[in-house]
Symmetry: C2
Subunit: 134 residues, 2 copies
Amino acid sequence: MSAPEVPVRRQTRQRTAVLALLEELDGFRTAQDLHALLRERGDAVGLATVYRALQALVDDGLVDVLRSEDGEAAYRRCSPVHHHHLVCRSCGTTVEVADPPVERWAARVAAEHGFADVQHQLEVFGTCRACAQR
Amino acid sequence: MSAPEVPVRRQTRQRTAVLALLEELDGFRTAQDLHALLRERGDAVGLATVYRALQALVDDGLVDVLRSEDGEAAYRRCSPVHHHHLVCRSCGTTVEVADPPVERWAARVAAEHGFADVQHQLEVFGTCRACAQR
DNA sequence: CGCCTGTGTGAGAATGGTTCTCATGACCAC
DNA sequence: GTGGTCATGAGAACCATTCTCACACAGGCG
């Protein structure tokens, strides 16, 4: 029996800064980006700390992770309910979309093949209106 | 105007070996795995060559790529028509599933938000019957 | 209010998957 | 066969991420 494991998250300047930056930005950003941004505005935070803060936020369900095509991780502040993303391939703007029949479909297909404990991962990529007009 | 760019793919022992191995295996394998397997059975192929062969196969649409949670790429021989995957989280067994209303749904949602040139990426993860029984 | 303890931090090193370099080898059109 | 490319392979380079470890600070307690 594993205990609930509440890791007693301390509130520090660095963690606050990372979350605040994510709140302020739109779309997915890599850890490297966030680190560079914080540094630019004089709010110096170590790279390792940015990674740790992001992991903690992901664990708490406050932030989404996405793997870009080249394997780099991108993070985004999100609402804590299940949803998917519509991401602009060019500028990174993101729209959260509530989920459709996909839920039911995934569950049904999985059951048909004898799979249990099902999760799914769906991202839609496209070019947003602004970028298409350039 | 860019020419069609047909890179004149040569047939070599190494590329044949990589594709043959993928044909033979089931489920997604990392480049490192494939390299180790080839080496074990005495069919020595350089690691860089495995990566190059896999990229060529992906470009030709003969192989699918998937990014595992830690960013490692996994490859799998696949049918050249659009489809999604049902992957066992535990043993890696994969089932190709033809896709459902998701196609239409993705297109519609994208259009509603002014996105063009839409692609999507959907993977379903679960525990297959065999693994669940252990 | 100040101490204490354990958690958080940061710089740099380590890790590990992937890509690059470049000299050498092999495919294949002629 | 021959030649000109393209492919190969060993190792180095690259780069995102994680680890290490000494030091700093949050925050509960006296």
